[in-house]
Every structure is written in structure tokens, then in C-alpha cells.
Symmetry: C2
Subunit: 426 residues, 2 copies
């Protein structure tokens, strides 16, 4: 059984959560009309922060890597959502090519691929794994901790199609975030490629996502008649950064300062005693690389070598030239003194589960998705779709419903973002 | 927790079930393409019989009445399926009018309505209950066993819309099978009425359903390269029956005889030792009224008064003028000597759960849905969507997957049936 997150979840449902629960039919209706206008991404995961006074997404991953951390009780939900997604994307599909990340030695990640493969197979697809890695020149079997294995096969291009030996897929599903750039072998293929190439981190920018989220949050806040700041972290952007050469420090300090000033004003408005902070992170990329937590503008001036190194390079050795400066959202949730950050998983428009990233030895104002930091995943115990308006205020499914709503706002923002960033010549 | 159905389910997965599991991706692909051509009914339940050598639907209910018997663990599946259905049927809907049966004193049925209302509400709808009963002339509160209540309100017609006081629904969901006829108040309404009026038992005929099932079963059998008899019970029809006046007995005896002859031939072909039997039941209607089990044609000649009374009237006092004579399928499943019949529930195209109708004091060749007979519902313990090809042959989810497949064949037949019986002037 999944353990209770006692410390994280015994608090009463907060005013904001209660408003979300009370407005449930209106919210679901609003989402339905939104999804008619905007196709959701095939899947996604959202990192949330619950500060008590504020519940907001801080990151949106379009290539989710933790399907193995979901409660297996939710697998039927994942399968059903996948079937619904397939029906729209490609009802005629029977072969799906799954392209994972290249880091084949990370057994946590491999378990994610196995879990994802399982879900896709249960939805009735023939699934095979194709690798972008140059090291995979022939079918290569990788052992999983449970004794099963994954067979990685080399991709090959034939005309406008990408294939494996004896396998011609109708759908190509990326679970590789393309941090290293768009691989030529996938460029211009005629198959249904999900998510699209421009959703990969070689072109995607967090500031585009959070600009789209501004639109979504504003509309949702109007629907609920709330201050959109309660669900939306402020952010700014700095271009032309070069941490090694100390270029852009001044811009960074200015943006940090203006953001802290705006946050301070909001904290004053709501009588919040916490200390404001901001997160500076690479505008593209994932895995918590290139991230720092800042409480004063002076901290970003004159970084030492270690800090500069940490900030200047992200996954796949890509250099950082742009950063997002994002309002830090304190985390209200903890488990036995460890900070707990909820991560919500979605397939198509459906919330299919989630887990807590539980991090010992980290403060409530730090980044929980840091490189090399091991976190304990704690699967959500209940689904996110069953609020009970009449229930006690600390009824667990009600908190999870609110989390599912805010996660879907970020998913909707991702839809807008993908639309708005579609290359012109496509 | 839901108890294990030990006796019912410890047997090994049978050859037919194994073939279904092995063909899973092909089956799911086939269903996807079928649903592109044929819209599934909004919901339905299917009574299955597993004879070991044969697994077949024996009844298909388009107004399912046992949502309260499903495992609550599956509620998220029900909610998600409802959301998918709404998205297609009426993404703009926020108000749903649910029209239940008129028998307001049956507390089992009221619990079904409450469970259904809960699912619809969790999918984000404002749900109110409108009654077709002449007794409901003002809002009437009915107490449920758990202390909650249902508020039944009188329907009213305004122009081409049906409404409640202060409530204008976009969707009208029938959970009333219209055995008493099509109510004028619903005729020609402009709202989305689901299922359509002609799916009600005042016009629906079981033989139309099983004719459509013949088409579906033939195509599916071809896909799996099996004898379609393994999933399809033979049937015949007799018109111009009047049990009270002993009209039509001869036709009945002939059909019973020819059916038994055909079944006997199949039993011989497959080396089956059981005694063949047929079920004679009203061609329209539900609740197991007007049903008899027959092992020889002579049994339908010269019925005594009690038998004639039993056969001649079904629900709402409707007289029986047509019957379906259907091959009886032995039930292989039992629980502590009680016969167990699986019932599978679907919303839109998705299997969302099921339960066993467990009937003490009934033989494996009798009707388990008889009037006045109380059955024990036993919710399925796992979902129907997670087969495991590599698992042990008695792995529970594999049996349930096969049940879900055959139930969906009946659902697809219902889609065809509804298409084929749509009134010409609509």
C-alpha cells in the first residue's frame, strides 16, 4: 500500500483549494470548452508548489520521466486515457515507436520507459523502442531491476519514414526531450510525431510556457473571481547571458530585484510573513541543472567559479544563454521534516496520477529537482478526479483535485505554447 | 476489500480466453477502427455467461441499473470515461437532467441512481433528477440507506425543451428503459437525449440486437480465426405469440426444437457432455420477467396457467407478443455452490468495471436475473484493461480482459442496432 503523507497532507484544505472544489462543475465545463479549441499534448507532468496561500506550477515537462513512480492502482486510468488519446491522434495506429533518452545507464529512467511501454501496450499497441544514441548500432538488451528487459533498437530512415528492422510505426512517441538538438533522422518524417519536435528543449523556452500560462491563469482567475497571482508565479527573462564570461549579470540583478519587489508587495497585501525568493534557471532544459535560489539581487553579482560552472551548462553539455527568473513558491508540504513537492501526471487531457518528490536535507525554498539529488517518490494514494464538496476540509481527494486542476492549467498553457511556437514553414 | 471469487475464478484461463489475450493489440486496434465508424451508446451493461468452452453475451442493457455494485476503486475510470463521452457528445454541456425509473420504492435502484449521479457530478456536471412518474407532481425527496437523499423533480415541457424548475439541461440522460412507452413529454425535444428514444424497450427488440451481434461476432471471429459460435449464442424469434390464448405455441416448439438440434450438433463437434437448453424470453423488456429455461420442445406446449401468467406480462404490465428463443449458455463460474454470472459495465467505449450476480439456489442453466430473486453483487477486483500475456494462466486480470472484450462486442452490436433501427422520419 501507498503510505499516507501525514505531515504533508493533514492540514485543512485552504481557502484557495476550497474555492476550486466549490467551483468544480464550472471548472470542468471550462476545461471542456478549452480542449475543443486547443489540442492537449500527448502527455505531460507538472511540478507544483503548495505554499498554503498560493498553489502554482513551477515547471511543465512535456517528456515525463517518472511513470514508474505512479501508483499501479492508477494504471487502468493511464490505459484508458491513452486509448482516448489514440482515438483522436491516430485511430488506425497499431505500431508505436517509443524514443527514449540516451542515458541508458540510469536504471530509474529505464523503469520509467518500461512503465510507459506497459501502459501503451495495455492500450493495445505494438510498442518497440528506437534509440537516437550513436552507441546503439544494433539491437541492445538492457536489464531492468525486476529482471525484465528493454530492447533498444537502432533507428533508420527510409524516405519520409523512420523505422526499425521489420517495424514500420504509425506513431512516433518522443520520451527524449531533444536537449541535444533536433536529430536529422526525425526531421520532416510523415509519421505522427508526438510531441512535435519544436516542443523539445533544443527550441522550447520556459518563458514561452509561462507567458502562455499568464493567459490561461488570467482567464481561470476570472472564472473563479480570484487574484491570478494565487495560482501564477511572477517571472522575468534575461537574454545574452554568459555565466563564464560574467555577461548579463546586471540584467539578472535588475530582474531579480524587480521581481522581489513585486513579490514583497503581494506578501504585504496578503499579510504573508515568509521571506520572498526567486529561482534563476536556464530558460531551456530540465533535470534541475543550472538552477539557483536567490533572496537578494546582490547574490547574482560576482558569482564564484563553482556557481558559474553550475549555472552555465545544462544537460547534454548545452551552454546557457538565457535564463528565466521565477518567483519562488514556498512549499507548505513536508513529510517527516523532508520537503515534499507534488508532481502531477497527465495523458492527453486526463490527470492519471502523481507522486511526491520527497527531499531530505532541502529547505522549503530550494529546488527539489537538483542533479545528483536522490528523491523518494511517494505515489498519490487517490485519484485526482473525485472531490467531495460535502466532505471534511482535510479530505485527501479534495486536495488532489485542486492539484489536478492547477496541473491541467499548465497543460493547457503547454497547448497554447506549442501552438504559438509552431515553426512558420510547417 | 472486495472478496475473491475463489470458486468462480481459480480455474485456468481457457483456450478461448488465451486466444483473446494473445491477440490483444490486434483486438484493440480493431475496436478503435470500429468506433470511428460506429458511435458507442452513452453507457451499457452486458450479462455474460462463461461456459468454459464458450464465452458469450446473453443480454445487453442500455439503461444499466447497478452502478452502485461497481468497485468504488473504479470510480475514477467511470469519471474519466464520462468526461471522454461528454467531450464528444456535448462539450458545451454543464447541466444534465437524469431521468430514472419510476419505481421509487426500490432502494437498490435508488442507490444505483445515486452512484450514477455521483459519477456524472465528478465529471463536472450539474445533475438534477427529473421524474416521468405521474406521482411526482412536486419536488420529492427520497431517503437513501446511507442517510443521503435524492431529490426527484417533476419534468415540464417548454416548446422543444424539457426542463425542471429553474434548470435548463443541455443533456437528457435516460436511466428509464421506457418499458411503458415513449412519453410524449420527451418526443421531439431539441436537447441531446441519450440513449435515443428508440433504444427504449417500448420499441427495442432483443432479436435486433442479436442480429447485429451476429455481424459483429462474425467479423471478430474472422479476426481471431475462431468459430464464431464460441462467442455467439444461436437464437430464433417467434411473432404473434399470445400465451394466455395459447397462440404461437407451435411456432415456439418448432424454433425450440430446431435450436436444440443445432446446439446438439455443436456440442458433438466440440465433445461437450452438457445437456443443451434454450431460454425463451420476451423480445422486449428487462428485469428477467417473462423468461423460461427449456430442454425439450414439448415443454412449451400446453403451459399451465402459472407458466402462462409468468410468460405473458413483463415490466409495467406490458403484454408479450414476441419472444426470442436463445441458446442457453451454461455458466462455468460459481461461488460456494452459488452460480455466478459476470455483468460488465461500460461508459462510452470504455469498460469501467463489473460485478458478479451470485445466485444461491439456482442451477447453471437457469436465468439469474429473475423477478423477486435477490442476488448478491460481488464487484470485480481488478480492472478489465490490464491483461498480462506473460502471466500465469489463472491470472485474474486476464479473465477480466476477455470479459471486457466480449462485453464490448455486445456494445458494438448495440451501436449497429441503434443505427439500424433509427426511425426513418428522424
Amino acid at each position: 500500500m501507498v503510505p499516507h503523507l501525514t505531515t504533508a497532507l493533514t492540514g485543512p484544505i485552504l481557502d484557495l483549494e476550497q474555492r476550486i472544489i466549490d467551483a468544480m462543475p464550472r471548472i470542468e465545463h471550462w476545461f471542456r470548452t478549452q480542449w475543443v479549441e486547443h489540442a492537449p499534448p500527448i502527455y505531460g507532468s507538472v511540478d507544483l508548489r503548495n505554499a498554503g496561500f498560493k498553489l502554482a506550477p513551477v515547471d511543465m515537462n512535456l517528456f515525463p520521466g517518472g511513470f514508474n513512480n505512479l501508483n499501479p492502482d492508477f494504471h487502468p486510468l493511464c490505459v484508458q486515457a491513452t486509448q482516448a488519446a489514440l482515438e483522436k491522434a491516430c485511430p488506425d495506429a497499431s505500431n508505436l515507436l517509443l524514443i527514449p533518452e540516451n542515458h541508458t545507464r540510469n536504471s530509474f529512467y529505464l523503469q520509467n520507459v518500461a512503465a510507459l511501454r506497459y501502459i501503451l501496450q495495455q492500450a493495445g499497441l505494438n510498442v518497440r523502442l528506437g534509440s537516437l544514441s550513436e552507441e546503439i548500432t544494433q539491437p541492445t538488451s538492457l536489464a531492468l531491476p525486476d529482471g525484465k528487459e528493454l530492447l533498444l533498437e537502432p533507428l533508420r530512415r527510409e524516405g519520409n519514414r523512420v523505422k526499425l528492422e521489420g517495424f514500420d510505426p504509425c506513431i512516433v512517441l518522443l520520451n527524449n526531450d531533444l536537449s541535444a538538438g533536433i536529430p536529422g533522422i526525425l526531421d520532416g518524417i510523415e509519421q505522427n510525431l508526438l510531441p512535435p519536435l519544436h516542443a523539445g528543449w533544443s527550441t522550447r523556452k520556459k518563458t514561452n510556457h509561462f507567458s502562455a500560462y499568464d493567459q490561461v491563469a488570467a482567464e481561470f482567475a476570472k472564472l473563479l473571481d480570484i487574484d491570478q497571482w494565487l495560482i501564477n508565479p511572477y517571472f522575468e527573462r534575461c537574454d545574452q547571458i554568459n555565466f563564464q564570461e560574467r555577461l548579463g549579470e546586471q540584467c539578472l540583478a535588475e530582474k531579480v530585484d524587480s521581481l522581489l519587489t513585486r513579490i514583497r508587495a503581494k506578501y504585504q497585501e496578503y499579510g504573508i510573513q515568509e521571506q520572498p525568493y526567486v529561482i534563476v534557471k536556464a530558460n531551456s532544459g530540465t533535470y534541475g541543472m543550472g538552477v539557483m535560489s536567490v533572496k537578494d539581487a546582490s547574490e547574482v553579482i560576482g558569482l564564484n567559479r563553482k556557481q558559474r560552472n553550475k549555472m552555465s551548462v545544462i544537460k547534454e553539455g548545452q551552454e546557457v544563454h538565457e535564463v528565466i527568473v521565477q518567483e519562488g513558491v514556498h512549499t507548505f508540504e513536508s513529510l517527516q521534516d523532508a520537503v515534499a513537492e507534488p508532481v502531477v501526471y497527465m495523458i492527453d487531457r486526463y490527470v492519471v496520477g502523481g507522486f511526491y518528490r520527497v527531499h531530505t536535507g532541502r529547505g522549503p525554498d530550494e529546488n527539489l529537482n537538483a542533479p545528483g539529488m536522490h528523491f523518494e517518490p511517494l505515489a498519490f494514494e487517490t485519484a485526482c478526479s473525485l472531490p467531495d464538496c460535502g466532505a471534511e476540509p482535510d479530505y485527501l481527494p479534495n486536495r488532489f483535485y485542486a492539484y489536478g486542476v492547477v496541473a491541467r492549467l499548465a497543460l493547457l498553457a503547454a497547448s497554447l505554447e506549442i501552438e504559438q511556437t509552431t515553426p512558420q514553414n510547417n
